[in-house]
Subunit: 291 residues, 2 copies
């Protein structure tokens, strides 16, 4: 997805919010804000918004001298997810369709996204879980998703955020983990999940975990490691979590199922849903391919 | 009031909203947005936000080739105010304290501000009128306001927006018009009232109307005409409507009563009130002067 005019004021606001989240030093906040203004003024609109996110958060890391300013926030999210996990697991087990229930909770977990909104409260997450329990999923897409998983030879599950990745575990446990790898970011970026968060979710014990070698809050293949690119080229199905992965992969020549909460108006419009919706969306590639 | 970091993303968003309000040409919208980004990146924070507003709306006028892009919006606001006026006049007449009622409606009229929020609906204005009827005013400030008006020799009433200026008429009719002049902007800027709007409100028939010679959405004396500056120097009381006048005059060495709706978080915090509040606020100058 390209960057739209609406993304510009939003990025400027996010830069200020993010700088305030990670430092009380107004001079640093101002510096990050000014660097962001200069950056967005030279943006080529064909780039996806996470490219801007990468640049802005690099400013933030340099200005604060902290390579992982959201460390504490990520730890908090992982703790909250651990606290909620037993109840979610129980609900999935008890559900008439555990696979669909796990999808719902995985999408609910995407509420924990500090990119769009700087302050996500525990109450926001609990509310999302509550909504997810009865949120409707597109049955036709769900059926195609099941079949695509069955018939795929090599699946990549692109994780999004810390905390959320434990919600993902509910779904990952119901996927054929012998032909699946979970992908995390290569370096800290906002509150996106890295290997540390995958470990906190206990994933390496049940599935292969790889990283994409990049600090983009999304997946821009040409900015990822050669190893990840090779793996991406080989796989025949992507399960993509979150807005950043949607924004960077919606046009990829691969079959993708996107699981996300549409938290911004531009993405909601792009997908064709309401803001806040729980989205299970298929990119429609290949149009005539086998299911 | 200085420009705060929070004003920057807000100005960028306002520039985009404003450009969309006045043109469907995306290239023009992008040009205004980019000029705004370059401008705000060089801002000296000691300047008040309306200085940014002036510059941004000059970009808009140049980019659209329209010196008065809010002409139609202003006409609509004047029409709405005329439609509401008879009922408001009746309510003021019927009130136990017609002066206080007129103040309330004058403040309610400040809802018609296209600077902060691009889309003001008729329903927003009607709701503001409804709230104004019972909104509490600071009784101590109200008493000082009455006395200040009585004892002043020369009063300037600084109007803010089109449409709103007819709400102001309710109050102006209850002021000593023999020692008062109403001030409008010298040139079109956003939906701020100019001489045309004062005429639409029938003010020249009942009070002197002057303009400040400027296209700032507020009152920055050094950017106003010499004639206005001379008049400002001479007056001993200012009645100031709206956020823009507050932002530019809160530090002036003159006694001022500010009447406004606090529509933005920065101003609300500066004044010490909640967002959306109906504000009658005295600047406290001179601290030890006569009342």
């Amino acid at each position: 997805m390209r960057t739209y005019l609406d993304c510009i004021p939003c990025c400027v606001r996010q830069a200020l919010d993010a700088s305030r989240m990670v430092t009380d030093d107004v001079a640093v906040q101002e510096r990050v804000l000014r660097e962001t203004l200069a950056l967005v003024n030279t943006i080529e609109f064909h780039r996806p918004p996470p490219w801007l996110g990468q640049q802005i958060h690099r400013f933030l890391k340099t200005a604060t001298g902290d390579a992982d300013p959201y460390r504490e926030a990520k730890h908090r999210s992982n703790r909250l997810a651990r606290e909620l996990y037993p109840r979610l697991e129980e609900a999935v087990h008890a559900a008439a369709d555990p696979f669909a229930a796990a999808i719902r909770f995985a999408i609910a977990g995407n509420t924990i996204d500090f990119g769009v909104k700087t302050h996500i409260t525990d109450a926001d997450v609990r509310e999302a879980v509550h909504v997810a329990e009865t949120a409707p999923l597109d049955e036709a897409v769900l059926t195609r998703f099941r079949r695509a998983i069955e018939s795929a030879r090599d699946i990549l599950y692109l994780a999004d955020n810390a905390g959320e990745i434990l919600f993902d575990r509910l779904l990952i446990e119901r996927l054929p983990t012998n032909k699946l790898a979970v992908v995390v970011r290569g370096q800290p970026i906002i509150n996106d999940a890295t290997r540390e968060d995958a470990e906190a979710a206990g994933l390496p014990a049940i599935v292969e975990v790889i990283d994409n070698g990049s600090d983009v809050p999304g997946t821009i293949p040409e900015l990822c490691s050669p190893a990840f690119r090779e793996r991406l080229a080989r796989c025949d199905l992507l399960i993509s979590k979150g807005q950043g992965n949607y924004e960077t992969l919606d046009g990829i020549a691969k079959r993708v199922f996107f699981l996300l909460r549409a938290k911004c108006p531009v993405i909601a419009r792009h997908i064709g849903c309401e803001i806040g919706c729980m989205v299970l969306y298929e990119n429609g590639y290949p149009q005539d391919g086998p299911v």
